[in-house]
């Protein structure tokens, strides 16, 4: 089962450049959604590949929905060669995204993110505006179902909607 606190703390301690996106970002922003995985957008930079792979190593990451005997090592070379990874770890499923639909790569996503305190660490989390843009762009039924709640949260906060950063 997902242990988001362990994952977020490990990534933050390792100074990984990442942004919490998806369902867990929605939760951090106040949504009542329940998600079983942690979606992260990571910076595509050689130093960050090292930090990210080292931070996740203790949790034994492997590819999700892939044959158990398929050789896989999450290291800097793997991260450099790929873009998006759907992983399972000993502390839950983790999706690593080099780009987010509707927003773009890490640098663009960061413009839609804010730093919040989570488990005594300052962690970048996608804003409600960013979540709404990305969910609309993804357009899947499960994304669209969450939209009214995100928009309601934004209205309750009195923030502008869909205007971007």
């Amino acid at each position: 089962m997902l242990q988001a606190a362990l994952l977020l703390t490990a990534l933050s301690k390792a100074e990984v450049a990442f942004i919490v996106i998806g369902g867990m970002a929605a939760v951090a922003q106040g949504a009542t959604y329940v998600t079983a995985d942690l979606d992260l957008c990571y910076q595509r930079h050689p130093q960050n590949y090292q930090r990210l792979s080292h931070a996740l190593y203790p949790f034994k990451p492997r590819l999700r929905d892939a044959p158990a005997d398929l050789p896989f090592v999450l290291d800097a070379a793997t991260l450099r060669a790929g873009l998006n990874f759907t992983l399972m770890t000993e502390v839950g499923d983790v999706d690593l995204l080099g780009e987010v639909t509707g927003l773009g790569p890490y640098e663009a996503v960061k413009a839609y993110a804010e730093e919040v305190e989570l488990y005594e660490h300052r962690i970048w989390v996608l804003t409600l505006a960013g979540l709404i843009v990305s969910k609309q762009a993804a357009g899947r039924a499960k994304d669209l179902r969450l939209l009214p709640e995100l928009q309601a949260l934004q209205a309750l906060r009195g923030a502008p909607r869909e205007d971007g950063p």
Partner: protein
């Protein structure tokens, strides 16, 4: 893109559609860490229910509960 609604009108519509605004109000009073802690408790409940379901011989389903709380 969804149309931009006036906040009050949108909230009235959302409530009429069944969105529990009181729960959202309550969540907004919490810190982000407290929100994740609440989520963790909900996830553990979902997992416990799945275990019970498995024990009864039902086929396990992937943890998905859009509104488990």
């Amino acid at each position: 893109m969804q149309p931009i609604h006036a906040s009050a009108e949108f909230l009235a519509w959302a409530e009429q559609e069944g969105l529990d605004l009181s729960m959202l109000y309550e969540r907004l009073q919490l810190t982000p860490t407290e929100r994740l802690q609440r989520h963790q408790m909900a996830l553990e409940l979902v997992e416990a229910l799945r275990q019970v379901q498995r024990g009864r011989g039902h086929a396990p389903s992937r943890v998905v509960a859009d509104r488990a709380e």
